[in-house]
Symmetry: C2
Subunit: 122 residues, 2 copies
DNA sequence: CGGACGGTCAAGCGATCGCTTAAGTATCGG
DNA sequence: CCGATACTTAAGCGATCGCTTGACCGTCCG
């Protein structure tokens, strides 16, 4: 069972490769076999399988072999984990008060007006 | 300046390293100088700067040198781009098919008949 | 049965990654 | 002006990455 507590290292590393991202995009449109998944790419089949293993180890994809065909499908939990981490960082920065801190740190000289119309309260 | 249309490759690659993610987390709590940013880590200063360059090239961090101090701050746009891509894939998977597609593919053996019970969508 | 199909295993190779040390360059403090 | 501070640059080294080729195994079809 592809561990659910996979490290972010593996998730982001998996997503860092364009081939692997293209595979994920392909899999959002439905499950696919290995060779089916390999067709768009100009590389050998073992290379594709290696990418697939990276995705699987990261918990982004699950695959099951029936007969001689391995069928791969997306595992949205991995994606959700990555999205959650990013959102946490982004909101930690945008949330409390820090945009102002940035402004102050940049130019503490002419603080005549401190009300920029930024921040559409997302 | 680091282009805003930076490739996802660089963004996810930058996020794939635990040291770099820790730096991002640190920067959500406010701007920091290079050596300040380096303090929590058991590595040499040049190593930290190299990580910083990766983050900056990915458009996740911006830095400005004043006097002999380089001050780094978070660039939320990069984070938002990454989050957007992930969300797009996740919703592309979860949206149109619901979970039914996944369920059918897992339990059913072929596409000839699709008359299993339907509507377990939560 | 025999061959094609779908995938797997193993070795290896060049490129990149993360990190190091050593030796700079600029600024600031006294 | 001199030393300390805050990086910066460059070279190098072992480990990992992405990909290849070649051999192999199990499954389906005629």
């Amino acid at each position: 069972m592809p561990n659910q507590g996979v490290a972010f290292d593996q998730i982001f590393q998996a997503l860092a490769d364009p081939t692997r991202r293209a595979m994920v995009e392909r899999l959002t449109r439905g499950p696919a076999s290995v060779s089916d998944l390999a067709k768009p790419f100009p590389m050998s089949l073992p290379a594709v399988v290696q990418h697939l293993q990276v995705l699987e180890l990261a918990g982004l994809v699950r695959s099951e072999k029936i007969g001689r065909v391995r069928t791969c499908r997306l595992e949205p939990d991995g994606l959700r984990r990555a999205e959650g981490w990013i959102a946490a960082q982004r909101t930690a920065w945008e949330g409390p008060l820090d945009r102002l801190g940035e402004f102050l740190a940049a130019g503490a000289d002419d603080s005549a007006h401190a009300d920029q119309q930024k921040g559409p309260a997302s």
